[in-house]
């Protein structure tokens, strides 16, 4: 069995005077899609930001490919092969779609076959290739944000609520895009509130509550167990469909 690509060991994070993460422990297996679920304010986004070095863990360790990356700066973590797609899209509004993608490729040139592959799931980006990113719709901005993380092969993709505020048809495109991404062997850690979305793409799951991981298992197992859903998330799949 392969060792996990990412491991959080007793991670505590403070933001100003607030203690947000209280000893978070979970692992992300290599090559699969791990869902990080939980109610609002459970600490999901803080976990992603702590992994990315945007907030430094006050205690505990973040281990990536066997190396402790807790003290590394955000650019150093990014250069190890971890990409982060924030919840608020985070596109560079003054730059064009093309310039956004070129920036994400950093020193490398854009691989045209990979770009074509992205365009099959996100055709709007091709249409608005030379348009200023700030003029795109919310869904298109979200697509661009995700496409930017996919333009270069990454070892680990951290994605925060990609389906938030998107129309159902676009969400379906996203589901297909993540399924295709899994086929390439990319490991993904995905925070999501939309349980249906999570059920469709997730392999494993970690559920958080009050800054701690309260459940770990397979996504299929959680999707089948309505009582567990209600207990952990305060919802059942039926009520969310």
């Amino acid at each position: 069995m392969k060792p996990p690509i990412l491991k959080l060991e007793n991670v505590n994070t403070h933001i100003g005077p607030y203690h947000i993460l209280h000893g978070v422990n979970f692992e992300v297996p290599e090559g699969g899609l791990t869902m990080l679920l939980g109610r609002n304010g459970a600490g999901k986004t803080t976990s992603l930001r702590t992994i990315m070095g945007l907030w430094t863990a006050s205690q505990g360790k973040v281990i990536f490919e066997g190396h402790d990356i807790t003290e590394l700066s955000t650019p150093e973590i990014a250069r190890l092969g971890i990409a982060y797609v924030p919840e608020n899209m985070g596109v560079f509004t003054e730059l064009t779609v093309r310039e956004n993608m070129v920036l994400a490729a950093r020193d490398a040139k854009i691989d045209s076959s990979r770009l074509d592959w992205i365009f099959t799931y996100m055709p709007a980006l091709k249409k608005f290739w030379e348009q200023q990113a700030g003029l795109l719709s919310g869904g298109q901005k979200q697509m661009l944000s995700i496409a930017r993380a996919m333009i270069e092969p990454r070892k680990l993709l951290l994605v925060d609520e990609p389906s938030k505020g998107l129309a159902p048809a676009i969400i379906q495109n996203l589901v297909e895009a993540f399924k295709a991404l899994k086929q390439t062997g990319t490991t993904v850690l995905l925070v999501e509130q939309n349980f249906n979305f999570a059920k469709n793409v997730g392999d494993t799951v970690a559920v958080m509550d009050n800054g701690k991981v309260v459940h770990r298992g397979t996504m299929a197992g959680l999707a089948e167990d309505e009582a567990l859903q209600t207990k952990l998330l305060g919802l059942s799949l039926d009520s969310h469909q």
Binding site: T74, P75, F92, L95, E99, L103, A104
Partner: protein, 355 residues
Amino acid sequence: MLNSLFSGDFPRSRVLTAMLIITFVGLLLTPFIFPGARAMNVGAKICIFIVLVAAFDLMLGYTGILSFAHTMFFGIGAYGVAIACDKLGPDWSSVLIGMGAGMVISAVIALVISLFSLRVRTLYFAMITLAVASAFHILCSQLGEVTGGEDGINFMVPDLIHPSTQLAEPFFGVEITGQIVAYYGLFVFALVVFLFILRVVNSPFGRVLQAIRDNEFRAAAIGYRVVVFRSISTVLGSVIAALAGSLLALWLRYNGPGSTLGFDIMMDILLIVVIGGMATMYGSVIGAAIYLIAQNYLQDLLKLVQADVEGIPVISGMLHPDRWLLWMGLAFIICVYYFPWGIVGKLRMRALGIK
């Protein structure tokens, strides 16, 4: 060729293109179509301020760094040339030594300020630069033996650019003196430096700067070292400001605290950026031309207008030439109200069909 010259960043608006051509031709022909030292002085100042403001916009508009130390670097460049020419004699080696020293000192100070301060928030960085610039201003006023104190330094320049040097027979009725050579030297210098900054902001490096300005955390998450890029931008902007200061000192053959270090010059730079438009290099050209022409000729215009309304109560008083600053302030308020993105920003948005 044009694409390469403008780094692919064309004006993208017919009105703006016309305004830029008028400014370019006006500055190119100033000595011939507006004879007299005053017009040439205004033209030279416009050229210098285009460079100075473009360097400031590289930091503020393209990187999101507000530095009040821009005039300090402007002053360092000017003092470099003034002190070198004064102490070493009026030859070209002194000019080069002074320019080089000013640029190197500016680069070192800018790098130190950047590395110590760019991790803090924009406003705190602005305050730190304001404090450093104020301290430098006081230092220059008090180090009389080196800087000439409040009186500044009057110095000689090489004969080729000295106004009293007669170089050739009159051309189109204009005497070809060292001042004409100095003017065109300055014009070419300003044009080359402006095109260089335009190249920088449209390069991959410039795109990273804009990404950092738009979303610092996102740029870091992609893998760009924000502090390094911001420091390079600050150093580059400061060195270019020093270069502009050197040019001003050579043009005036004088430098003192009031001519390069004053806070009023910092205000002029800020106003020009706002009038022209932030993060639009062409904004520095349009802003500098409009602002400096208004600053120098508004009083004359009011004199003409007042002659026609003399005797009419209130209006005559309001149009008194001494009230020129009031009208200048009003024009600025109107400009900000109708062109919140600056003149260039507004024209480009209109060309895109955005109201």
